[in-house]
C-alpha cells in the first residue's frame, strides 16, 4: 500500500514541477539564486547516489584493485566523457564488470 501512495505522490510532485511555469507564466518568477542553484541539482544528486555504489561495500570503504565496481565505473566515466553516449557507457561498463567479476571470483 505504501508503495502505491509513494508512487502517486511522486507522480503528483513530478507533474506539478513540469506544470509550474507553463501554467503560472508571468505570475511566478524563479529567484535568481534558485535558478543558479538548479543547474547543479542533476550532477550533484546523481553523483551523490553513484559514488557510494563504486566506493563502498556493505557500507565500508573499499579502495582496492579487487573492487570490480570501482574499476568498471572508472572505465565508464572515461567512456561517458569521450563518447557522451548513454548506451555505450552502460554496455561497456556492464561488460567490464562481468569480465572483472569473472576473474576475481
Amino acid at each position: 500500500m505504501i508503495i502505491w501512495l509513494t508512487i502517486i505522490a511522486a507522480g503528483i510532485l513530478t507533474y506539478a514541477t513540469r506544470l509550474s511555469f507553463i501554467l503560472f507564466y508571468g505570475q511566478i518568477r524563479m529567484p535568481s539564486l534558485m535558478e543558479r542553484a538548479l543547474r547543479f541539482v542533476p550532477p550533484v544528486v546523481l553523483t551523490a547516489i553513484f559514488f557510494p555504489e563504486l566506493l563502498l561495500n556493505d557500507g565500508n570503504l573499499f579502495l582496492s584493485f579487487g573492487n570490480a565496481r570501482l574499476l568498471a565505473g572508472m572505465l565508464a566515466i572515461v567512456v561517458a566523457w569521450r563518447t557522451k553516449n548513454v548506451v555505450y557507457t552502460i554496455v561497456i561498463g556492464m561488460l567490464a564488470l562481468w569480465i572483472l567479476q569473472f576473474f576475481f571470483s
Partner: protein, 236 residues
C-alpha cells in the same frame, strides 16, 4: 465549405505532429534499452510488476524511477524516497520555465497535456523547434508528436523489461546499470570547474555520510555540493 476549411487548418497541424515524431525517433536508441533496464532492475530489487509499470505511467521520468525503485528495494522510508524523486526531477522546473512563453496562447487543457509530456527528450527537440522559423500557432502539435512518441516507447520498453526481469538472476549484477546510467548522464553535463567541484563534493560527502540513518547523507551531500558549485561559480 466547412470540410474544406478544416482541411486547411488540420493539414499543417498534422505535418507538425509527424515532424515531431520523426525528430524524436533517433533518441529512441537510448530510450529503449534504458526503459528495459529500468524494468529489469525494478523487478530484481523486488518492486511488484504492476507498481513498476505504474511508475512509468504516473511518474514518467526515467532516472527518478531508477532511484525510486532502488530505494524501494532498500526499504527506505517513503518520505525519503519522495524527496529524492522530487530533487532529481527539479530540473523539469527549468524546462517548464524555458518552454512556458511558447505555450501561453494555448487553451489550458493543452497546457495540462503538454506538461505531462515534458521530459528531457521531448523538451530537447521541441525547444529547438520553437526557436526556429515557422508558424508558432501550430508548433504545439510538434511537441505533442515528440512527447507521445517518447511516452509510448517508454511504456512499451519498461513493460518488456518487467517481463524479462523475473528471469534475470542476481549474479548478473544488473543493479550496477543504475550507477552506469548516472555516470552517462552526469559526466557529459560537467562542463566547467563549478559543476565538477559540485559533483565531486557531493559524491565524497555522500560516501563519508553513507551510514547516517534514513539516507539523510544524500540530502546533506546534495546541499553541500550545490553550495560548493555556487561558491566556485562566484569566484570565476
Amino acid at each position: 465549405m466547412h470540410a474544406n476549411k478544416s482541411y486547411q487548418v488540420l493539414h499543417p497541424a498534422r505535418n507538425e505532429f509527424f515532424s515531431g515524431i520523426i525528430a524524436e525517433l533517433p533518441l529512441m536508441v537510448g530510450v529503449i534499452p534504458f526503459g528495459m533496464i529500468y524494468g529489469i532492475l525494478a523487478i530484481s530489487v523486488g518492486v511488484p510488476a504492476n507498481a513498476a509499470q505504474a511508475m512509468s505511467a504516473i511518474i514518467f521520468a526515467g532516472s527518478s524511477q531508477f532511484v525510486s525503485a532502488q530505494l524501494f528495494g532498500l526499504s527506505v522510508p517513503a518520505i525519503i524516497n519522495l524527496f529524492t524523486v522530487g530533487v532529481i526531477n527539479l530540473r523539469h522546473a527549468l524546462y517548464s520555465a524555458s518552454i512556458a512563453p511558447y505555450l501561453q496562447k494555448l487553451p489550458t487543457r493543452w497546457k495540462w497535456v503538454l506538461a505531462y509530456l515534458l521530459t528531457d527528450e521531448a523538451y530537447a527537440v521541441s525547444i529547438i523547434h520553437y526557436q526556429q522559423e515557422g508558424d508558432d500557432r501550430i508548433k504545439h502539435w510538434f511537441f505533442l508528436g515528440s512527447g507521445l512518441t517518447l511516452w509510448t516507447t517508454w511504456q512499451l520498453s519498461t513493460a518488456a523489461g518487467i517481463y524479462l526481469g523475473a528471469s534475470v538472476p542476481a549474479s548478473w549484477s544488473l543493479d550496477f546499470t543504475l550507477a552506469l546510467t548516472f555516470i552517462a548522464l552526469v559526466v557529459p553535463a560537467i562542463k566547467d570547474r563549478a559543476s565538477l567541484g559540485a559533483a565531486l563534493a557531493a559524491g565524497l560527502v555522500a560516501v563519508a555520510l553513507f551510514n547516517l540513518p534514513l539516507k539523510s547523507g544524500l540530502l546533506a551531500a546534495s546541499l553541500i555540493g550545490i553550495l560548493v558549485g555556487l561558491l566556485l561559480e562566484g569566484k570565476s
